[in-house]
Symmetry: C2
Amino acid sequence: MDLTEHIAAIPLFEGLPDPQIEELTDIVVDQTFKRGQSIFSDGDPATGFYVVVNGKVKIYKSSPDGKEQILHIFGAGEAFGEVPMFAGGHFPANADTLEQTRLFFFPRAGFVDLIKQEPMLAMNMLGALSRRLRMLAALVDNLSLKEVPGRLAAYILHVSEADDSPDVVELAISKGQLASLLGTIPETLSRILAKMSSQGIMTVDGKKVSIIDRRKLAELAESGKLPT
Amino acid sequence: MDLTEHIAAIPLFEGLPDPQIEELTDIVVDQTFKRGQSIFSDGDPATGFYVVVNGKVKIYKSSPDGKEQILHIFGAGEAFGEVPMFAGGHFPANADTLEQTRLFFFPRAGFVDLIKQEPMLAMNMLGALSRRLRMLAALVDNLSLKEVPGRLAAYILHVSEADDSPDVVELAISKGQLASLLGTIPETLSRILAKMSSQGIMTVDGKKVSIIDRRKLAELAESGKLPT
DNA sequence: CGGGTACTTGACAATGGTCAAGTGTGGTGG
DNA sequence: CCACCACACTTGACCATTGTCAAGTACCCG
């Protein structure tokens, strides 16, 4: 699979005529990062945006004392770092790889012109940003209106549903990262997993979570509380 | 000031050629809401989006037991409810007026076509969504990584800076709404305002907040803690 | 077979939410 | 013009959730 095919396969570029795909192929920068490397940091000036070819990237905010809140985790085919192209000019958060990751970097120069010429590209971009807004709104909802057990329940259900609702789901990320995504710390997550297991809601074995009582899980996700 | 002028003055439509402005004038629906009315609810199917002519609108999520988290507050000239036009099809949150408010409603039909024809409109829309993402990312950062005093400090500074940094700022919203915006409740906000006053950081008189020690406020906003 | 990282568990402290009871204050109607 | 009511805000006592600090265990990678 060569560069052009890779680029044509990116959802963001779906429906783009071939000449434009070629144009993108000319400007793309192919980069590979090792696990745990920083791609950019909050406040860095942005000179373009990225698409994940393979691997995983976390977008996160961090506080002076080292705590992190993950905003998104992006996998193959997903774009990130577009916001500064349309507002600001500097990245609004940090990006690190979670594993070895291959990225396509598209320099800003010229890309904006391409959008202006290609309504399809603009629409795809609008769709991508809109979905992202939806996700962030859901995150705020969770952080602010649910307690940790509720957030965890919602997450498990979300993963299960995204995978056609099997009762056994595999966590794609480490528990430490999951804690950061849920806005808590590993200790708390660990305790809550233990409590949910002991209450017969699910079983946990490493990264494998088996849902036993989906109804109780759903209740919990609706801001219900875990009985003591 | 007639409809066309109003529409031409909306930032989202900046740079649009006159014929398109006329087109918008033909499809716009002019609506007026009283204070405290619901414009749409989380999950409602969306048939278009809105622009605030005057007044104030809060966009918020709410939990089954009635708690609310405000995501945004929009004033004159700002658009909201565009997300479902590009992703989903239903609103991702609730919208209520905070005071008597006049809105322009733009039906979805035709609007998407207009975007495809007018790169300028697409760019404006991308800018609007990008700024919104930035704001939400900042909100998540605050909710997750700062305690309430820090969030309040950041809010006060933000308002002050948006107004060219005067030392006396007027709260645009009620303290109850501010509590919801900061992800807390009126009781807690009240206590923290009292504490900050007694520590000589600022004084509060109704909706008027006078910043006394801007340095301490800035420290606090950087995730510092309020000394007991 | 190390050695470090990830995870778990325990005891403790504290932020902030709940419940309850005031204290204004502005708007309305008598 | 004043009384009254609703509503926004404040204050106090209490307690639940969750973060902190400190060990200890399991596990993966080299």
